[in-house]
């Protein structure tokens, strides 16, 4: 079965891609939506243009679809991109990294049903602690590229998530009630290395902007 993975470059969609391959399902292409709206309901936005580099080291074609990120209208852009994947790569299924958001998952389910495609959500309802364990045990190297929650310090920006960092996140979770795997948008992540990559991506440039509890980082990748 050929599929397209909805890909943001963060931990969830990259891990969904990893599981897709593990279950012997062929990834024909990745689909990334570049939203002009930083508060998009559907799509993770920071550093998304860097997904090009990730697609390159995975050796998988990438469909990039721009969207203004207006609620519901961005779904038409997503449907357009999935249609393109169906026409160009004959995909029979779409894979997402949806974990808890019924909003995201049900919208993608509807689009897939309209286009007569299977829809896989391999991380659906996954426990956050189990997700981090799986990621680290499978040698995922993940950095934080945006934060937006009380207790998430600016110092976390650009930091790699290792066991020590997870311990720290658990402390923040206890004190500030953040979601441990950032389902509430507490942070955005970027994968710099994982078993799907032919080489590790090197971050050579960091531009941090924001204020208070809300920061984002534009990165340059070699």
């Amino acid at each position: 079965m050929k599929c397209a993975v909805l890909f943001s470059g963060g931990k969830d969609s990259t891990y969904a891609a990893f599981l897709t391959k593990k279950y012997d399902i062929e990834i024909s292409c990745l689909i990334s939506l570049i939203s002009e709206n930083p508060d998009s309901y559907m799509f993770h936005t920071p550093s998304i243009s860097k997904v090009n580099k990730q697609a390159e080291v995975m050796n998988i074609p990438l469909i990039i679809q721009k969207t203004k990120g207006v609620k519901e209208e961005e779904l038409k852009d997503l449907e357009f991109a999935i249609k393109k994947a169906k026409n160009n790569y004959n995909i029979e299924a779409v894979v997402t990294g949806a974990v808890e958001s019924a909003y995201q998952a049900s919208r993608v389910q509807k689009i897939c049903d309209n286009l007569d495609l299977e829809c896989f959500n391999p991380l659906w309802q996954k426990n956050p602690e189990e997700l981090w364990n799986d990621l680290l045990e499978n040698r995922f190297e993940i950095i934080i590229i945006a934060i937006a929650a009380g207790g998430m310090d600016k110092e976390l920006m650009g930091k790699k998530i290792d066991w020590e960092m997870i311990k720290k996140l658990k402390e923040i979770e206890k004190k500030y009630r953040i979601h441990l795997s950032f389902e509430g948008g507490e942070a955005e992540t970027f994968v710099i290395n994982c078993p799907l990559f032919s080489k590790k991506l090197a971050v050579h440039e960091k531009q941090i902007s924001g204020r208070g509890d809300s920061w984002k980082m534009e990165i340059g990748i070699k």
Binding site: Y23, S106, K110, D113, F120, K126
Partner: protein, 178 residues
């Protein structure tokens, strides 16, 4: 032991439709065993104290063409909970008919009578293109146009059209405590 019967035709779907049920059982220290419906045998069915039948994806209707593999349900006397596709199976085994009706996402469901500890309005997660109607089941809950919770008129067989493993995990726990 609870026997969790998997219905997805593709094992990749187990992560979405079976694992959340397994996680719920595990978190509540419930002893269970998962097996695909094509691999069931008489011995295993006899050792089960209760049975849960999972659902599967919108496009996966494979279980409907294998309904004979569920004939053992007619003779089974212990509690069964059928979720989505699992509810369709229960209905079909008892002379029900499948209807086309789609619901996707969060919906409000009203439980008219107590159903595994659920009564009144609840928000549930829906993901189905089909629904089942069987005269041998009583309807306990409905959404606007669709039957949502049924119980057999003689046996302890429960069916839900929505996915309690996504929202309302308590329904599964309450079933395990029957």
């Amino acid at each position: 032991m609870i026997l969790l019967i998997k219905t997805p035709n593709i094992s990749f779907h187990d992560l979405e439709f079976v694992k959340p049920i397994e996680d719920t059982l595990e978190r509540n220290h419930v002893n269970f065993k998962s097996i695909h419906y094509t691999k069931l045998n008489e011995k295993l069915i006899k050792t089960a104290d209760k049975i849960i039948i999972s659902g599967t994806s919108l496009k996966d209707n494979n279980y409907l063409s294998h309904i004979k593999k569920f004939d053992w349900i007619k003779e089974f006397e212990k509690p069964i909970l059928g979720i989505c596709g699992g509810m369709h199976i229960l209905g079909l085994i008892f002379n029900g008919k499948i209807k086309n009706y789609q619901e996707i996402g969060l919906k409000e469901v009203v439980f008219e009578n107590d159903f595994l500890g659920f009564i009144g309005k609840h928000i549930v997660y829906e993901l189905h293109n089909l629904n089942v109607v069987s005269k041998e089941f009583n309807v306990f809950a409905s959404s606007k146009n669709c039957i949502q919770a049924i119980k057999h008129n003689k046996k302890p067989f429960y069916g839900v059209q929505f996915h309690p493993e996504v929202r309302n995990k308590n329904l599964i726990i309450n079933f395990t405590r029957l």
